[in-house]
């Protein structure tokens, strides 16, 4: 087939001069193998410049000379065909789909369908079968391990917890670095809204969702990941971090009605819990203490004595190990997902109605997710040829979660739980609370984990509306005008409660938050397309457009403190309302003008120029317009130079340079006053003070002027196909330079302010990404495909402002482990204290008086969360209608600071703390003796040893996150078509799947692939959050 394609191309290139003669009219239809019309196919009379395009219904009409022999039919995604027309006036052409990956059709910016062959930049396409029926609730999880150049880390296995995704690294110091999500041409919000409830604020809440969670994975037809800013320059600034272009399923496929029903059920289990010791129980210094959180008590089986605390009043106390007391706190989660779609019509008039309901019970008690999605979409062509389309999607997402984080959360109290405490009876008997609803727990001063789980939850109830209208009109055969209006709006109503007697908020609290966001986009696009423009070998597409964008957000929070009546959670049960009660609104607008010119020469040389000018509300009015261009080129050298051989079947090189400007967040230009407040979670004061108001200067100094920030990306890449494309390789190298970043850069606090907003700094990302596809075996019945990808990004903060070498990443952090931007380092290093080192020996200094480490020296690099590289390998086996796929991925490097690990060690629960427990230990390091440092020889008990290494922010709790993981296994089976047809069905598909089934992390005794703060710029912290989950399930999909 490849040869045929080349022959066709060749014949097109060697066209004889055309002869003028009397013309005749030829009409016909272009169809796919299923008989579905193909629109916009190019029909060229062979050897001439005469041609046309097929209509929506696949029909065409073209004038040809009487002696014209053939038509050349080409369409994006289809193999070009030459059709004999000698003596014919009507023809019907059935096109054959072209080879995957090389002539693949991809949906690029603004919903424009392109042949991947013509692109001068990197994209990667995922089809429905690579995403659906894999047990992923959040679609970003479905991408994990499958896309080169992309780093994805989920917050945890808690239901709805957000998932961080960065494409080609982090390019903005403090603004959003997530890619732009676009659904059917409409940018949608993937924001993470955090609820700041109670002490520990956003560090100790349930993990909120990233709002891509509201997308139904089952309803996705394809996802195209546009990796660099070159790919997405037409979407404006926000696509600087790449874009994920989602195309949802459409009605009218194949010109018939279809009902698809799908149902899946899966179970989830907590994964990656540390191994625990079961030799020593509750207590400290070898003495039993029933109110201790630690497991430094006597050995199980020790003879009870008054000295070891096991003999009280002459009676031995009950003292035994509960080996599964931590594991059993985590529950078997369940996910049931049911969906139904009804579609019908043809290419001209079609509709789709779909509904989906997903219900999840989490691995943590009292957590879950319920998601309902209803969508209606339709397209029609009016009699006056105006094309009209529209869709409405309603989503309701309910997320129930519980607290995490250090300082009295369910998780901080259960992780590293003392080995001799039975938790289950608290749950089964409901005795985690007293009769009056207050906390009941054997360990004093902290909450019973079940009490936290059941009495202090956070609930989120989100309604989302996604609507779009599309109007198109073909002014002439080569000129099209299209207008698209999209609205994405949601309201998330949240309720965080703390029961009276909760350790974090003893007086009780009811926090009501209403979070509203909306985005409106209007795009007017004029497209001109002409094949053989000016020269028969030149295809030209030109596009001009205008975008109007408005984004509005409003968060209203009412906080009722010091509740009067236990168990009653309404705002009016509060007695103090002055803390946290607040309103925040933002509105920003942007008008963009853009143009794109695409040239294709002889189907092997492609050049594209783009430019966009944005005018924004957020920059000073005299500097609010900024322009950014891009250029990219692709060259299929195997075609151009006729290098095709059986070994090298296809070869393309490509290059691009793109610049993207970005505006500021809203309201940066004014100095303001803020409501007064002092302190943090250990003691605080907030105005109003009774009836007395208090305001003070904001800690930020507004800029005297502000310009847009810019990112420039340079990319070169190649697509190669070998052995008739049995092996294909897509590679890219890029260098992204971000400059003039709009940041709130630190000023000396003694200036009276903490930050000032300014343009400053420079950061680079250099990276390599590779995608390799190998069809290892292919017979009629059996096929084995291997897909591998490789990602390496090297980020470097080149400069900040004058005299400033360090900047904290905005967000919540604990002093002592602050995610930071530091000159000369990769983005996001965690800054904290390190134990001083004796320079002569290079060993840590130990206090000769105590035998434990000297006080740390602050302001040093504690950890670096950036992985060195990552790999993903998918194997897919197809036998008849069976499909077996499994995906391994491997992440090398990247560090995580784990409060969880610290807790397991300092509490003496981790299995490693039992070894040689009763023998003396010596911490590695040096002590000062007689004026010089000598190796430490001070013996300390195991408890002292492990607690010296168990400080939450200690360097000993920084772990290498290297891990290999069996990310996904799935088996699919399509019922034989005979059987299916007999039942008058289209297909019946059964799948069995498992996610996150196994991992091996050589340097961490827990699963290091967690990220407590989820999606955002802060990475590499495990602040006693939920562990990961393994998902195992099955699904059934029936089409009729």
């Amino acid at each position: 087939m490849r040869k045929l394609l080349l022959l066709l191309w060749g014949s097109m290139l060697l066209l004889p001069c055309l002869l003028f003669a009397q013309s005749r009219n030829i009409t016909g239809k272009i169809l796919d193998p299923e008989g579905k019309p193909i629109a916009n196919a190019s029909i060229l009379v062979k050897g001439t410049r005469t041609g046309t395009s097929s209509q929506m219904d696949g029909s065409f009409s073209v004038n040809a000379s009487p002696n014209a022999k053939a038509l050349v039919i080409s369409a994006v995604g289809w193999t070009t065909q030459e059709v004999d027309i000698a003596g014919k006036s009507t023809i019907s052409v059935s096109l054959v789909a072209s080879d995957k990956t090389l002539s693949e059709v991809v949906v690029t910016s603004l919903g424009i369908v392109r042949d991947k062959r013509s692109l001068g930049y990197a994209t990667q396409n995922l089809k429905a079968d690579q995403i659906a029926d894999k047990g992923s609730v959040n679609l970003i999880n479905a991408l994990q391990g499958q896309v080169a150049g992309v780093n994805i880390v989920g917050a945890s296995g808690s239901p709805g917890a957000s998932v961080n995704i960065n494409i080609r690294g982090i390019t903005s110091f403090t603004n959003n670095n997530q890619p732009l999500f676009v659904v059917d041409g409409i940018p949608i919000s993937n924001d993470v809204d955090r609820t700041n409830g109670g002490p520990n604020g956003t560090l100790g809440d349930n993990q909120p969702a990233n709002r891509a969670l509201d997308i139904d994975v089952n309803n996705i037809e394809s996802m195209n990941i546009l990796k660099g800013p070159a790919a997405a320059v037409l979407y404006g600034s926000r696509a600087a971090n790449g874009a994920i272009i989602i195309t949802t399923k459409k009605g009218g496929v194949g010109g018939r009605s279809e009902i698809v029903a799908g149902s899946s059920y899966s179970q989830q289990y907590a994964e990656g819990l540390p191994r625990v010791q079961n030799q020593y129980g509750q207590g400290s210094t070898g003495i039993y203490n029933p109110i201790s959180s630690n497991s430094w008590g006597p050995k199980f089986g020790a003879t009870p004595s008054v000295a070891n605390g096991l003999l009280v009043g002459g009676q031995p106390v009950a003292y035994q190990a509960y080996p599964n007391n931590i594991k059993d706190f985590f529950e078997t989660g369940t996910i049931s997902d049911n969906n139904l779609s009804i579609s019908g019509g043809d290419a001209k008039q079609n509709f789709l109605l779909s509904g989906a309901y997903l219900s999840q019970n989490g691995i943590l008690p009292n957590t879950g997710l319920k998601r309902t999605i209803v969508k209606f979409a339709g397209n029609t062509i009016l009699r006056n040829k105006i094309k009209l389309g529209g869709s409405i999607t309603f989503t309701n997402t309910l997320q129930n979660g519980i607290l995490g984080g250090n300082g009295n959360s369910a998780l901080s109290n259960v992780l590293g739980l003392t080995r001799s405490l039975d938790l289950t009876s608290y749950k089964t008997k409901g005795t985690y609370q007293n009769a009056d609803g207050t906390n009941n727990y054997q360990i004093t001063g902290v909450d019973n984990p079940y009490y936290d789980a059941y009495k202090n939850p956070l609930k989120s109830n989100l309604y989302r509306f996604l609507g779009s209208v599309n109007l198109g009109y073909d002014v002439t055969s080569w000129l099209n005008v299209n207008y698209r209006l999209g609205v994405d709006a949601y309201t998330d109503r949240r309720k965080q409660i703390f029961a009276i007697s909760s350790a974090r908020v003893p007086a009780g609290l009811d926090l009501e938050s209403s979070i509203f966001r909306s985005e409106v986009n209007g795009d007017l696009i004029v497209t001109a397309h002409k094949n053989g423009f000016l020269h028969p070998d030149l295809d030209v597409t030109a596009l001009v457009g205008q975008n109007i964008n408005q984004r509005v957000s409003q968060t209203i929070t009412a906080q009722a403190d010091a509740l009067a009546i236990p168990g009653y959670y309404q705002i009016n049960n509060g007695t103090v309302f002055s803390n946290g009660t607040a309103e925040s609104t933002t509105k920003r607008r942007l008008v963009g003008y853009y143009a794109q010119l695409s040239l294709a020469w002889k189907g092997y040389l492609f050049l594209e120029l783009t430019g966009r000018a944005d005018q924004t509300s957020t920059l000073p009015s005299n500097k609010n317009t900024y322009f950014y261009p891009s250029v990219n080129a692709g060259f299929v050298f195997t075609d151009a130079l006729k290098l095709n051989s059986d070994v090298l079947s296809y070869g393309k090189v490509r290059a691009s340079i793109a610049r993207v400007g970005n505006d500021a967040p809203a309201y940066q230009l004014q100095n303001t006053y803020v409501q007064g407040g002092y302190g943090n979670n250990v003691a605080s004061f907030n105005f109003p003070y009774g009836s007395i108001a208090g305001f003070g200067v904001s800690s930020r100094i507004a800029p005297t002027t502000l310009s847009p920030e810019f990112t420039t990306a340079y990319e070169v890449g190649a697509n190669l196909g070998f052995w008739k494309n049995r092996v294909t390789l897509d590679g890219a190298y890029y260098n992204t330079v971000s400059t003039a970043q709009i940041v709130n850069v630190g000023v000396a606090p003694s200036s009276g302010y903490s930050t000032r907003t300014t343009n400053t700094g420079k950061m680079t990302n250099k990276g390599v990404e590779l995608t390799l596809n190998v069809t290892a075996v292919q017979t009629n019945r059996f096929k084995w495909d291997i897909t591998g990808n490789f990602t390496k990004v090297v980020n470097k903060v080149v400069s900040l402002a004058d005299g400033i070498t360090n900047l904290s990443i905005p967000g919540s952090a604990f002093t002592g482990s602050i995610p930071s931007i530091r000159v000369g380092q990769p983005y996001g290093v965690i800054i904290g204290g390190l134990i001083p080192i004796d320079s002569a020996s290079g060993l840590r200094i130990i206090n000769a008086g105590t035998g434990v480490y000297a006080s740390t020296v602050a302001n040093q690099i504690l950890s670096n969360p950036n992985p060195e590289y990552s790999l993903g390998v998918t194997n897919t086996f197809k036998y008849k209608t069976f499909t077996l796929g499994f995906l391994f991925d491997f992440v090398k490097g990247g560090q995580i600071l784990s409060f969880t690990a610290a807790t397991y060690k300092s509490r003496g629960a981790w299995e490693g703390t039992a070894a040689n427990r009763e023998k003396p230990w010596i911490l590695p390091g040096v002590i000062l003796s007689g004026g010089k440092y000598i190796p430490n020889n001070i013996e300390v008990p195991a408890q002292t040893y492990w607690q010296a290494m168990g400080g939450l922010q200690s360097e000993f709790n920084v772990y290498d996150a290297t891990a290999v993981r069996l990310r996904n296994v799935s088996i699919g089976y399509d019922l034989p078509s005979k059987l299916v047809k007999a039942a008058k069905l289209n297909y019946v598909r059964l799948s069995v799947f498992a996610n996150n089934l196994w991992h091996y992390a050589p340097n961490a005794f827990f699963d290091p692939e967690v990220n407590t703060q989820g999606a955002g710029n802060i990475r590499g912290l495990d602040l006693q959050g939920s562990p990961n989950a393994t998902t195992v399930g099955a699904s059934l999909r029936v089409s009729l």
Partner: protein
Amino acid sequence: MKFSNIKNLVLLLTAGLLLGSCKKYLDVNSTPNNPTSVPPSVLLPNTTIGIAFANGNDLNRASSALVQHIAGVANQTASYDVYNFSGAFDNQWNGELYNGAIANSVVLINLDSATSPIYSGIAKLEMAYAFSMVTDVWGDVPYSQAGQGLKFLTPRFDKVQDIYQGNATLGITGLLDLVKSGLADLDKPNNALKPTKDDIVYAGDATKWKRFGNSLLLKFAMQMSNTNAAVAKSTIQSVIDGNNFINANTLDFDVPFGSSVGNQNPIYSFNYVNRPGDQMLSLRFLNLMRSLNDTVRLARLFTKPNGAFTGYDNGTTTAAPAQASRSQYGAYFVGTTGSASLHLLTNYQVNFILAEAALVLGTTGDANAYYQAGIKAHMQKIGMADADITAYFTANPTIVTLAGTTEDKRKQIITQKYISNVGNGIEAWNDYRRTGYPVLALPNNPGGDDPTVIPTRLPYTNGELSNNPNAPNPRPLVNVKLWWAK
């Protein structure tokens, strides 16, 4: 509609949209979330709470541990107790002081000097108090260029002596002159605006503010008495002569707090709400009070669970007593669920200052009388019954009467002042560093910069060190004495 009409309409609409004007459309960048100007009545309570919160929060916990009023049991206070200050005090330096009380005082002074001098006068006194905390805790600190935003983004570090005394060459107005300038503002008539309930300490009474100002002069003068006795003496003498200072408990500069969550004083919210297990009465302070037969007073300052005081030794690694049996800060610091005032400058402090001044500087007045008045004022302040006070004086004549050498007497004065400053650790630490009294032993397991001495300053904060190239580099260690220290 005809085909060609549609075509024209589409083209027209397209052209119109592409070329439309949008100046007004984009004019939406004024923040609705925060005010861009405010009246002085909302700034003043913020600066007042600011200095009080700074005085009673983490700096108080650290200094109270250093002077061994309290002992750390867990977390930060336990670290402070053994001189590990790594990564600490940014919140105090930044949030409470420079970005809190100081930045807002600067705004208050600038806004109101011309129209409402009473506000700028009060602000100058409060700013002086705020700066004295900063320099007394950290030594050389940004002062003359501090709190002014864009004007000085990296303020110069002024020397302690220049901060106290001023330095004309460097254009530094010293704390003494800053207070005098505030007092002058308070004398100015014609205030467009006057504080009322927004003055949470003196309810807008300028005469009381003047007493506070003059008492501040006493405090500052005594603080610099080791190194500039002449100015100290003349300043104190002139305040005595003016006879317009805090001379009754009712005139104390006490900053009141509220009983509601979020309005409570930081001693209460730390010790009773958020971190009840972190610190408790120092065994050493308990022993001192026992040796002075002063446990009736101690019971007003610290709780006595089940009828017994339980202290904890500073820096020890032995297990702490059960929480329910620990002696914690008592009713004097609690009030009604945290509404107790913080006592920033008081009649008892003034009396001890005047006693010490009479003793060592030779200012007028009877040292012993001031000494006894100081003890009594404190006992009354914390609510001891008159009978108990009388009983104590009767039973302990040697304690309540100055005797021996000047140094002996000074030791007595500062020891009593030290007792009365429970809850105001910064003042107790100031006096300790200035006089060496009371004599304190090192805690168990000391660490930090120098485990051989009780720290004489705190290390500069990371935020300042990393953002201000004018900060001394390397920072002085915590064993380097301040200009005014003994």
